[in-house]
Symmetry: C2
Subunit: 278 residues, 2 copies
Amino acid sequence: MTSRFEQDTAVEQVDEGRYRGEIVEGWSVSPVGSVPNGGYLLAMAARAMREPTPHPDPITITAHYLAPPQPGPIDIDVEVVRSGRRHSTIRGQLHQGGKPMVTLLGAFGDLSTAQGPTRQDREALELPPLEECDAWTDEAQRRAEAAGESPPSFALRFDRRTPPGMMGWSQGKPVGRGQMGGWIKWPDGEMDTLGLLAVADAYPPAVFNSGEGELGWVPTLELTVQVRKRPAQGWLASMFTTDSISAGYLEEDGEVWDADGDLVVLSRQLALAARPGR
Amino acid sequence: MTSRFEQDTAVEQVDEGRYRGEIVEGWSVSPVGSVPNGGYLLAMAARAMREPTPHPDPITITAHYLAPPQPGPIDIDVEVVRSGRRHSTIRGQLHQGGKPMVTLLGAFGDLSTAQGPTRQDREALELPPLEECDAWTDEAQRRAEAAGESPPSFALRFDRRTPPGMMGWSQGKPVGRGQMGGWIKWPDGEMDTLGLLAVADAYPPAVFNSGEGELGWVPTLELTVQVRKRPAQGWLASMFTTDSISAGYLEEDGEVWDADGDLVVLSRQLALAARPGR
């Protein structure tokens, strides 16, 4: 069975070095108008970028967000820069109406055959148990969307559970530190290394919990995701942190761990703090 | 007066969208043969990439290292992907003999006019005082190189001072944690935001201090540098950390702070652990 994520990020080749996808409703976030989520666009682009290679896994991929595309067809240009035994280096570019929307550069490999030392000095991410966390959606909402009784919603694309207090910023009670995250998985289907790219951008901006700046549109300038391992199935533990805001520029560093307790993602984005009135 | 760094990373336009630089001896590191340092190549590329823009500062720049170029002339192709008011997004590619060596994607801006909130939740980097740190070179070495009495050496390109014990790995006494760094500045001339790109790759691999893996060639697959501020002049404090090694893939996260106590760089690279016999 094809998962919703797989369906919604599907691409087909339309020409030499050109693929086409369809940005569907239901992956949009609503800061100003309706903008497709950056992780969704990244995953769709990566699906096209790996096509000409024997390397299915994004090892490190960087996206620069130039302009917000609209729901509908989108073209993805793919250029192989270097094709090696272990890795392929690929450029990608999403464009719509002839205008570049996202430009990308990534190295792809095959994590199922990766060999070398493994060592974890990073403190494992400790989240409160699932049953103590807050669910973002319920089955009634899923049924209503599926039946067309409510509009497609980004909140329904993931199963997410956040530690108590993590969403306090939305009621004027930020945590006081730029942190955001929790348990996450697909509501349906298997999580793979393309899915992890979407997971790396699935939460509201961590800076909202710092109490600094506005609660508005925090545009991502650039997002880089390192994928370390094909994830074990089950809930993933994730945390995203913003520690340094410099004249409006801020990073958001993410880590994602799988159900086997292994680090599967390190991500970092550069974003712009929200501006008053936006 | 032009600094050695400025001279050695100079580029000139040779065609529409094409620049030429000269990789000079003295920026090579010697893991296997003689390979120009990745930060040096990044800085030279960035100098060309900003040329067609009104934006002098690399805000976030990503380099994928494909093959090691040789000292001598190198061509840099530069393509403007998007030219905006605040930022320009630029693709770059270093090639030699028609072969791509480094491919890049970066956003450039003007940090002198950046406006927005500033907040630092990151713990400031605490290094031992300069006088307690180990110098890597002395004036006699500098004079010998300048007089042509000893070959050009990467060690002389920077002034570096490392905390006691930081170089113990080279005598079989690693720190036990993947950390590397110290005080750093140019021996001559002003540090600017292009120089910071070189600073972000100026130390031996942090993984050598973990005691994990071999002391051999640790090839960088990808390096992303976020530059936050034009640095105050004087010694910079830097630290690079490797915490997670996954089947031979490892990150190296860097932070650089200036003499005013401000964060000026966040960097992250993805590298491959050294393999036996290399």
